[in-house]
């Protein structure tokens, strides 16, 4: 069967800067195993499937798959899918909001501006601190060897997925970090976490923070742009009274070390909720031909 398909670049001011995402726009009737097979085949960090909403308040329903498994929530797939739904005319914002129905429930997506200037932001699930480490915590020593820590202690947070967050002294330290993958993987496995996210404050740039997200398990890969990890970091900065600006808004640079140049716009609202977003570029518009697998029960 032929279905509408787009491939997007999320958190990108121009194509190639951000994190790629594949979106199947009319996924009704696709079986779970078929969705997983498509997500494995695209080889992208995530592939999403847009479905009619089952809740009356929702604008659309979304299922998110990595090449290996279904993911309850992730930032860049939510931002990208909202963009795809708007471009395809499948939903229209009400009072500047779309409501995304996904495995973790109903999540609002804020829509600002139109066309090329459009900005989207998703409210991330609340993140919580699991454990605050020591400054120069020995458990992070192997992964960060030789780098001077920043002001905040390292912390293990859960924002849907778990991350160790570690502030480094300055931008050069973050950009110059050569990942020690065995140490990052050990850290991830020991704490059932995705891996290690390092960041630093920046001066005299058009962004406030530089971030790198090193996934140690499963696989060993550096993210081009991480919506959920950055939302978790924003929650930590908020809780630590360490946000770059008093209005709760800041801009992150991520991905240069892996050939991208993403910009993420973070906002902590008056209620303490974190919104993670940015711009999306449509790179491929077309159709996907994939046979329906009739040997499994259809997805609900």
């Amino acid at each position: 069967m032929t279905r509408s398909f787009v491939q997007l670049d999320v958190f990108a001011a121009k194509p190639g800067d951000g994190n790629p995402l594949a979106v199947v726009l009319d996924a009704a009737g696709l079986h779970d195993t078929t969705m997983q097979a498509i997500a494995r085949w695209t080889r992208l960090p995530e592939t999403t499937f847009v479905l009619p909403p089952t809740s009356a308040e929702a604008s659309y329903r979304l299922r998110i798959f990595s090449p290996r498994r279904e993911v309850p929530f992730a930032g860049h797939p939510s931002i990208g899918s909202a963009h795809a739904v708007l471009e395809a005319g499948l939903a229209t914002p009400r009072d500047g909001l779309l409501v995304q129905e996904c495995a973790v429930g109903l999540l609002p997506v804020e829509v600002r501006g139109e066309g090329h200037q459009r900005r989207l932001a998703v409210r991330a699930p609340r993140a919580r601190v699991l454990e605050i480490g020591q400054p120069d915590d020995p458990r992070l020593g192997a992964a960060l060897a030789g780098f001077t820590a920043g002001a905040l202690p390292p912390v293990l947070m859960d924002g849907g997925r778990r991350w160790w967050l570690a502030e480094l002294h300055d931008e050069a330290a973050v950009r110059g970090l050569v990942p020690r993958w065995d140490a990052v993987s050990a850290l991830a496995r020991d704490h059932e976490a995705m891996g290690l996210c390092v960041f630093a404050r920046c001066q005299g740039r058009d962004y406030d923070l530089v971030v790198r997200a090193l996934v140690g398990h499963p696989g060993q890969v550096e993210d081009a742009a991480s919506g959920a990890a950055n939302a978790t970091l924003a929650a930590w900065l908020h809780q630590s009274n360490a946000l770059p600006h008093p209005d709760g808004r800041y801009v992150v640079s991520q991905g240069r070390e892996v050939g991208h140049d993403a910009r993420l716009e973070l906002r902590v609202d008056a209620g303490g909720d974190v919104w993670s977003g940015g711009q999306v570029q449509t790179v491929v518009r077309g159709t996907l031909d994939w046979p329906d697998d009739s040997t499994d029960s259809p997805s609900l």
Partner: protein, 292 residues
């Protein structure tokens, strides 16, 4: 920035999802090398190709092949897939069942048989030859094979563009059940300048395929490649060189990729001149327009 025709294909696949994916930009004029490299990094696929008008009058089209990290002079699955894309889009027609691909490695012939869903395309691989591995490789090879029972053919390092370690195992089961020691394989390929280790075993009579193949390239960031044209060509070249094709004949099917959730089928042929051809079916999965 303008819109270009774009296809994403599944190569060596009898249905979508069973082969090796390939992205093809059908009109790459005025994309420079840096833009091609950036797009090939963005697709996350093992290869992305860019179709250009031929410069040589005897060529049907010209193609440039990129991995996420570098440009390649030649590769098997990108050549088979790009020929499919060119035919599908009407950019070139086969003459007497042949296309001529102009690429960095020169002019390469492709053979086209059948039409529509039954079409098969084969490419002649660069001639494979055994090269002498550095001294001391035997221990590394033993470690990389992690106790597998070997077949009759002597292992060899075969150069057909990339260099492959080609090792026959006792039978198909030895191939299918192999739990690769990726660190040991990376040590072997790193010490000997190989891109990877290709193991194969003969199937029982009555199977739909004659060989089971697996290819491991951990040092290149690919623990196991789903379906590999050049590895299958290297295996065919080494079997032919040793007069060991035997009951396979000169025209047989290899099965690769089941262990990584695929089910690729590579049609392998050794022609009268002893050249190895690899081919198969290609499925068009994504058709669209690219803004880059």
């Amino acid at each position: 920035m303008r819109c270009r025709d774009f296809l994403q294909l599944d190569v060596f696949a009898y249905r979508p999802g069973t082969g090796n994916p390939l992205a093809v930009v059908l009109d790459a004029r005025d994309l420079d090398t840096a833009a091609m490299q950036a797009f090939a990094n963005w697709t996350h696929l093992s290869e992305t190709t860019f179709v250009l008008p031929p410069r040589d009058p005897s060529a049907s089209y010209r193609v440039r092949i990129f991995t996420p990290r570098q440009e390649l002079p030649f590769a098997g699955h990108p050549s088979v897939g790009t020929a499919h894309a060119v035919l599908e889009s009407g950019l070139a027609q086969a003459r007497d069942g042949r296309l001529v691909q102009e690429c960095a490695a020169g002019l390469l012939p492709l053979q086209v048989t059948g039409d529509g869903p039954t079409r098969r395309i084969a490419v002649r691989a660069p001639r494979g030859r055994a090269v002498a591995p550095p001294a001391g490789h035997l221990a590394a090879l033993d470690a990389a094979l992690a106790g597998r029972t070997r077949g009759a053919l002597v292992p060899a390092l075969i150069d057909n563009g990339p260099q492959w370690w080609v090792v026959e195992l006792a039978d198909e089961a030895q191939v299918r059940t192999m739990a690769p020691d990726l660190a040991a394989i990376a040590a072997l390929t790193g010490a000997t300048g190989a891109v990877g280790l290709a193991v194969f075993g003969r199937a029982l009579p009555g199977s739909a395929h004659a060989l089971a193949v697996r290819a491991f390239c951990p040092a290149d960031g690919i623990p196991e490649d789903p379906v590999t044209g050049s590895a299958n060509a290297a295996i065919a070249a080494w079997l032919h060189h040793n007069d060991a094709l035997g009951p396979l004949g000169r025209d047989f099917m290899a099965s690769q990729g089941r262990e990584v959730g695929r089910d690729g089928r590579v049609h392998v042929r050794v022609d009268a001149e002893g050249e190895a051809w690899v081919g198969g079916s290609t499925q068009t999965v994504i058709r669209g327009a690219l803004d880059w």
